[in-house]
């Protein structure tokens, strides 16, 4: 009971109701991982007619015992490759090296052309020259209709099959005398020790930014050098930029890519495709890896002006001024942290707020946390973290701040 009384008194003593009036506080300096625009752009393209225009605010409580953290960007780890084959290559026999038993192969005709589809019985498969027997060496084979029924649309005429574990590994020759037209071959070796990893240094960027990419060829637990490596960056609109990787420390390869300054916003992602091949005496071992990130045009940003802090009567609301380059619907969202009894900062509320704004500087959006601070049992000082500015009209992520604002303690008022 004593503890309960103490907690209750702590809440009163440090509650937002008793915070001194704190009209304006500067944002904390941006940190390394923050997304910060150095300019705002004017987008002249027409916006969709159905974009929301009503102002909307929404806030809810978070469990302070659940810490928040930022995930590291996705790391692709590929044991597969794709290649295109023409009829002549298949008639002659296409060879590559498998590195583990149980490879999955998918063969799809060009243009979804059913007439050039191949059946398992059309294929002559050999490992290290030994002809494979379909009933013994193929564990499973399905057609496109069966894959589609399972929710996987590989296209008309696709043939998918898996080599049996007993078929072993080695130089695989894939031959089809009656091949006609072009085909896409996809090979996946789920149990292979050979993989290609790929990662971008971040999963979000602004137009004109530079992205750093890292890739590595792994043979078992050992990093090694492939015979060749390359890549391409593709935009959602279909533009592509070649990527030149250069060797780096520890078997890694690295590349930096400058994004176009006129890239638009959108939640459809840009993709990095990396292709590598290691040549062995038994043939080529290819691997392709892919990752993605968002690119946004900085149509608005935090203006840098001081934030208006309203913290009274148990309510907290923060108004952040913006600089807007293009008319649109902008949203701020952020997580409010408070100080626990032991002094640690804990998250207790999240607020979102969206408004239609015209170009200009100074107009702000208010994050209204309502009375969640009073209900949280946490005390000052407070911090606004995980702040982000979004362009909802163009689906762009324009600015992020891991730590944006600290208020409610004397040292924050200086």
């Amino acid at each position: 009971m004593k503890n309960l009384i103490f907690v209750a008194l702590s809440g009163i003593l440090f509650s937002p109701a008793l915070l001194a009036a704190e009209p304006h506080i500067q944002l904390l300096p941006a940190s390394g991982g923050d997304l910060v625009a150095s300019r705002v752009t004017m987008e002249k393209s027409a916006l969709a007619a159905d974009i929301e225009r009503e102002p909307v605010d929404f806030a809810w409580a978070l469990d302070p015992s659940q810490p928040l953290s930022r995930e590291t960007p996705y790391v692709a780890d590929s044991r597969e490759f794709w290649t295109t084959l023409d009829a002549k290559q298949l008639q002659k026999g296409y060879r590559f090296q498998t590195t583990a038993p149980g490879a999955l192969l998918r063969l799809s005709p060009a243009d979804n052309a059913k007439r050039t589809a191949l059946q398992l019985s059309d294929l002559d498969l050999r490992i290290d020259g030994r002809k494979l027997d379909a009933t013994r060496d193929i564990s499973i084979a399905v057609d496109a209709a069966q894959m589609k029924a399972a929710g996987v649309d590989f296209g008309e005429g696709s043939l998918v099959f898996r080599l049996a574990a007993d078929a072993g590994e080695g130089q695989l020759q894939l031959m089809a005398k009656n091949a006609a037209g072009d085909y896409l071959l996809h090979v996946y070796e789920p149990d292979s020790p050979v993989s290609l990893t790929l990662a971008a240094d971040r999963d979000r960027a602004l137009a004109g930014d530079t992205i750093t990419l890292k890739t590595q060829w792994n043979d078992g637990s050992r990093a090694s050098r492939p015979s060749s490596i390359g890549g391409v960056l593709t935009s959602p609109q279909g533009h592509s930029i070649p990527i030149d990787f250069t060797p780096a420390k520890g078997g890694e390869y690295q590349a930096t890519v400058q994004l176009p300054a006129d890239a638009g916003s959108g939640m459809a992602l840009w993709e990095v495709h990396t292709f590598a091949v290691s040549n062995s005496k038994n043939g080529a071992i290819p691997r392709d890896a892919k990752t993605s990130f968002s690119v946004s045009s900085p149509t608005a940003r935090l203006s840098g002006e001081a934030v208006s802090v309203q913290a009274k009567s148990g309510r907290v609301a923060l108004t952040l001024p913006l600089e807007v380059g293009a008319a649109g619907r902008y949203e701020l969202r952020g997580v409010l942290y408070g100080t626990a009894k032991g002094g640690s900062m804990q998250p207790f509320a999240i607020a979102h707020s969206a408004r239609w704004l015209e170009p200009g500087k100074g107009e702000g959006i208010t994050l209204d946390f309502g009375d969640l601070a009073a209900k949280s049992g946490l005390a000052a000082p407070y911090e606004l973290r995980d702040l982000s500015l979004n362009d909802q009209a163009r689906l762009g992520l324009l600015e992020t701040r891991a730590r944006a604002l600290r208020f409610g303690a004397d040292d924050a008022l200086r």
């Binding site: 159905d50 929301e52 009503e54 909307v56 605010d57 929404f58 978070l62 810490p67 928040l68 930022r70 995930e71 960007p73 996705y74 692709a76 597969e80 794709w82 290649t83 295109t84 999955l104 998918r106 799809s108 060009a110 979804n112 499973i140 399905v142 069966q146 894959m147 589609k148 029924a149 399972a150 929710g151 996987v152 590989f154 998918v160 072009d182 896409l184 996809h186 996946y188 789920p190 999963d203 391409v232 593709t234 279909g238 939640m267 459809a268 992602l269 993709e271 392709d288 892919k290 993605s292 990130f293 949203e331 969202r333 997580v335 979102h352 707020s353 969206a354 995980d386 909802q392 689906l395």
Partner: protein, 283 residues
């Protein structure tokens, strides 16, 4: 257990005593005009809604979930149908049952409440979302489908793959969305309402086992094959880690199903192994 604790708290809330409970069924990646017949099966819907005080308080969403989750034809369409349902039936307590990518659409709505002025009212009415096999962290199968299109597009075979929902469910894409646009995954803020996942762990296709026929044998056979792309724990379309990737796990299939049968990705939207009764009893 967590879910029942949450339920107990809600049960004692005075509001719930006066609640008008409804249930909404939100389908996965596909475009529907009659998801009752073409996706869920009327026997499943009719069994689940028996748990409602007023069995007429249900709706089956029919939208184009081949689009990106945020698209007006996807989340926008779902928001419109949910709003109409809430308003026309006076729903004050809504349980949403999603399957597969339908979970992502509902997570978009709950993670982006200001994107559409209809979202807040929907969120405020939701008691919780029961997410059957949600594709919260994507699937390698989406990558397998999409990666080939780079080559196909380069050859002019395809001018881009048209199913944006599949594109969106590639693993790196979902990782990006989970980190920036969606809540509920580890380390991210929680969703404003509970998101309770039912996780399918395996596919059974033994020709002599009648359980393999629930939901359609040929569909389950396809899922057995797609498992080759997935981890040892999967429902044939999604790894368990993806299904359990957001919100809380309500249960892993064999913990609750009749005969401790696993739920394949096809069976987790069908009247199989008492799943309908489990969902009915949760209303």
């Amino acid at each position: 257990m967590l879910k029942y604790l949450a339920g107990c708290v809600l049960a004692f809330a005075p509001m719930l005593a006066l609640a008008n409970t409804g249930v909404a069924f939100v389908h996965g990646t596909s475009k529907h005009t009659n998801a009752t017949a073409d996706y869920w099966g009327a026997d499943f819907i009719n069994s689940v809604r028996q748990g409602l005080p007023n069995q007429a308080n249900y709706t089956v969403i029919n939208c184009d979930f081949e689009q990106y989750m945020w698209d007006s034809r996807a989340a926008g369409c779902a928001a419109g149908q949910l709003t109409s349902f809430i308003n026309s039936r006076g729903i004050t307590d809504l349980v949403v049952i999603t399957h597969s990518n339908g979970g992502n659409v509902m997570r978009w709505i709950m993670s982006n409440p200001t994107y559409d002025s209809r979202y807040p009212n929907i969120i405020n009415k939701i008691r919780w979302v029961n997410a059957l096999a949600p594709s919260s962290r994507g699937t390698p199968l989406a990558d397998a489908v999409m990666a080939g299109t780079v080559f196909e597009s380069a050859l002019g075979w395809l001018l881009g793959y048209k199913n944006d929902a599949v594109r969106m469910q590639q693993q790196s894409w979902m990782a990006q969305y989970n980190a920036n646009n969606l809540y509920g995954t580890a380390g991210r803020p929680s969703l404003p309402r509970g998101f309770w996942a039912v996780v399918g762990q395996d596919v059974e296709t033994a020709i002599w086992d009648s359980d393999s026929y629930c939901g359609g044998y040929h569909l389950n056979l396809g899922l057995e094959i797609t498992q080759a792309w997935l981890n040892s724990c999967s429902d044939g379309f999604l790894n368990c880690s993806s299904q359990a990737g957001a919100g809380n796990v309500w249960f892993y299939d064999t913990q609750r199903t009749a005969g401790k049968e696993p739920l394949s990705h096809n069976q987790s939207r069908k009247k199989c192994f008492n799943l309908d009764v489990i969902l009915r009893n949760d209303l």
